[in-house]
């Protein structure tokens, strides 16, 4: 055990908290689940390695380092991964600022708060690095197993990327604090994080759509224009890509640069972290006044009152808005593809409709959790003189209504081109959203809306069922859009999945 008040002692404390936090996230607080979780993680890791084999096996022994095209492709992948890491790091940094947890204890203790926050930032960086390495592991392992140990250098690059992403997230968040203040930073930071996470993917997709009419993310990176305007192969821009390919010199530079950037940002920002965290803590005590547009209570049915409440709560919660925004942003490329298709008179609905249906299912799952499980006044609603089924229906209507509102413009656009495609898309959205809502209904728990981020931990079965259900209905809609009767098979899988979920649903007390 280290001496109290030292960096190592504080780091041990943070490490313990981090480990328990992760364990709780994985097991939903039930230690007995640890073995099941370990087995599930092992199966998932095996599946990811198989998936990675399918994707990268062909590159393991290829001499990919000699061409600018290859360096461009690797750099593109790294940039794509980095944008997602930055998004995640911004989420973590914002959460660290706004979580009260042990803030009072830290700031009233005689330990240097600069030291404590430096360690806390280190913990965020470690989390970011670890996550990026875990995500990259299947691909790196497969490449190393097939193409030799030189590929293991990629781990170093990924770790450096995680460090730089954390440093950039710290700088961006602190800059936001100074520019817009503690009150608005949370909302803006989360929206920026969502946009950064999606922007690179969307940008590449949009570029690909305009250049080749496909949704492939890397088409733009291999275009003639990019080849003509890219720096030559000796440029420092390609060092991270060269490091991935096993260039020891480039790896050393990238690793040292990553650690240095992180160290500088921690040194620069840890002193002010406490001030910003205190300002953020004060936000919850600030007053938000709502303007009344009408005087008096409005006469409405109980069901309408419940629906309205769900919509108002979502509209007023910036954090939840940013969480859903991420999913909606991914709809942008298919929408643009639709516009291009419509303009050119082509029918690419087989690609477009499943994406939309999948997104609707995922979005509905999140909204259904908020509406059904994330009820902040469960006793009030349960003791109201309304039959329980009516309450549930009102909440389902709130979810389906919101999905209908979000997807109506897309359906309207489709209607201009093909009535059949619009019908298939609308039915697919309806089935996917209804199925996700039913799954959430079967596995409902009592939780607070603020626990939304951890909703997956309350039921792994619900999470997987929701994902597979969305896939099944997306496949159904895609095949149906092609006019094939085979669509009946994925539809049957979707229905069977719902039947299974219904049979194994936990008994509600």
């Amino acid at each position: 055990m280290s001496r109290p008040d030292t960096l190592t002692w504080l780091a041990e404390h943070e490490l313990r908290l981090g480990w328990r936090d992760w364990l709780s996230l994985m097991t939903a607080g039930r230690r007995r689940r640890a073995l099941t979780v370990a087995v599930a993680l092992a199966v998932f890791a095996a599946f990811m390695h198989l998936f990675a084999y399918w994707i990268v096996a062909g590159y393991a022994n290829a001499d990919v380092g000699s061409t600018t095209t290859a360096l461009m492709a690797i750099t593109g992948v790294l940039l794509l991964s980095w944008s997602l890491l930055l998004s995640q790091a911004m989420e973590s940094v914002t959460r660290a600022f706004y979580a009260r947890s042990d803030l009072d204890l830290i700031l009233t203790s005689p330990v240097s708060s600069r030291k404590v926050f430096a360690v806390r930032m280190g913990r965020i960086a470690a989390g970011s690095v670890l996550m990026s390495m875990l995500l990259a592991a299947p691909f790196v392992n497969v490449l190393a197993a097939l193409g030799g140990a030189r590929w293991l250098a990629a781990y170093g690059v990924v770790a450096a990327m995680g460090a730089v992403a954390t440093a950039a997230a710290l700088a961006l968040t602190i800059a936001l604090f100074r520019l817009v203040g503690a009150r608005r930073t949370r909302l803006i930071a989360q929206i920026v994080a969502a946009i950064i996470g999606a922007a690179f993917v969307i940008g590449l997709q949009i570029a690909a759509i305009f250049s080749a009419g496909t949704l492939s993310r890397f088409t733009a990176l291999q275009s003639d224009w990019m080849r003509a305007n890219a720096p030559d192969a000796g440029s420092a821009v390609w060092w991270p890509a060269r490091a991935v390919l096993g260039d020891a010199g480039a790896l050393a530079v990238v690793a040292v640069a990553g650690v240095a950037v992180l160290a500088v940002s921690i040194a620069a920002f840890s002193g002010r972290f406490g001030d910003h965290a205190m300002a953020a803590a004060g936000v919850s005590s600030t007053v938000v006044r709502q303007r009344r547009w009408s005087q008096g209570f409005r006469p409405r049915s109980a069901a309408r009152v419940l629906r309205q409440k769900e919509w108002t709560l979502l509209r007023r919660d910036p954090w939840l808005m940013s969480q859903t925004l991420m999913q909606i942003l991914y709809l942008l490329p298919p929408a643009i593809l639709l516009w291009i298709t419509f303009r050119d008179g082509n029918a690419a609905y087989v690609v477009l409709i499943p994406v939309v249906v999948m997104a609707a299912g995922q979005l509905a799952g999140g909204l259904a959790w908020l509406s059904i499980s994330g009820e902040d006044a469960p006793d009030l609603v349960a003791t109201a003189p309304i039959p329980a089924t009516r309450i549930v229906w009102a909440k389902i209507e709130a979810v389906i209504g919101m999905i209908a509102l979000l997807f109506a413009p897309l359906i309207a656009m489709l209607l201009f081109d093909s009535l059949y495609a619009a019908l298939v898309c609308a039915l697919g959205i309806l089935m996917s959203a209804a199925a996700a809502t039913l799954i959430q209904l079967c596995f409902r728990v009592q939780a607070r809306r603020s626990q939304f981020r951890r909703r997956q931990t309350s039921s792994r079965i619900a999470t997987f069922a929701e994902a597979f259900s969305s896939i099944a209905w997306a496949a159904t809609a895609g095949v149906a859009a092609d006019g094939s009767w085979i669509a009946i098979f994925p539809a049957l899988v979707g229905l069977a999945l719902l039947g299974g979920v219904w049979l194994i649903r936990p008994r509600q007390t």
Partner: protein, 258 residues
């Protein structure tokens, strides 16, 4: 057992505000065990007992938040298990942890509650304003509840419990965490409700509150009603002069002796 003595009858022709018979609920052990409870209209009834005695479980069954394993519950003559909607229409529940919506204002919260209880909007709005005023919340009526202190949140929840003008108000430790001023306001509101003919059932650990406010006090332990009566009756039975001493003497008795 004195639970069904029926000697304290404020309105002999009215059905009991609450009557439970043979109420049982078991978790890993019996939480409520064959509980008979009769509370009359216009009565302020305090339910006291040690931690884990079954007070909250009893009240959650009465309000429809928990289903009993066996027994019956009647609220103002309505079978609450057979017709829960009718029973809920005249009942309000306030838990010790104020559950309100952070993103709604007190005014919007009361509008929401009035809508859930299907109260005529034109009638509910003046009552809501009156309650907000009464509880000192009027200046904050259009502020979101997210910045409110615990006391303010508890008062918003209390206003929600009263805005549909319930006949029976059931409160679980409503004074927990309130400052003296807020506690006084809540107590005054509850007394006023009883004066107006409403019935209040309240669990509390603060024996002084039960002593000062309640018409009758029920002592519950191990899920069973071990004693019930007015303050004087409980003192006489235990041979103690202070309620605290009487309470400690009563809960120390073996259950069979009750």
């Amino acid at each position: 057992m004195s639970s069904c003595s029926g000697e304290f009858m404020l309105h002999p022709h009215r059905p009991a505000a609450l009557a439970t018979r043979g109420l049982c609920k078991r978790f890993d052990r019996p939480a409520v065990d064959d509980l008979d409870l009769t509370i009359h209209g216009g009565e302020f009834y305090a339910l006291v007992g040690p931690n884990g005695a079954g007070k909250t479980t009893t009240l959650r069954m009465v309000t429809g938040l928990l289903r009993p394993d066996s027994g019956s519950i009647a609220i103002d003559g309505i079978d609450a298990l057979a017709d829960p909607v009718a029973a809920k229409q005249i009942t309000a529940w306030l838990s010790d942890e104020p559950m309100i919506y952070d993103k709604l204002t007190p005014y919007e919260y009361l509008e929401f509650v009035a809508g859930l209880w299907r109260i005529d909007a034109a009638a509910a709005e003046p009552l809501a304003r009156e309650l907000l005023d009464w509880l000192g919340l009027a200046p904050h009526a259009h502020e979101r509840c997210e910045g409110f202190s615990r006391g303010m949140r508890q008062k918003v929840a209390l206003a929600g419990a009263l805005v549909h003008d319930p006949k029976l108000i059931i409160l679980d430790e409503p004074l927990t965490g309130l400052d003296a001023g807020s506690a006084r306001q809540v107590k005054n509101v509850l007394k006023e409700r009883v004066r107006a003919g409403g019935t209040v059932i309240m669990t509390t650990h603060i024996l002084e509150v039960a002593e000062r406010m309640a018409d009758r006090i029920g002592v519950i332990a191990h899920g069973r009603l071990i004693a019930e009566g007015t303050l004087d009756e409980l003192r006489a039975r235990s041979g103690q002069t202070a309620l605290e001493d009487a309470f400690l003497a009563l809960v120390a008795e073996p259950v069979e002796a009750a």
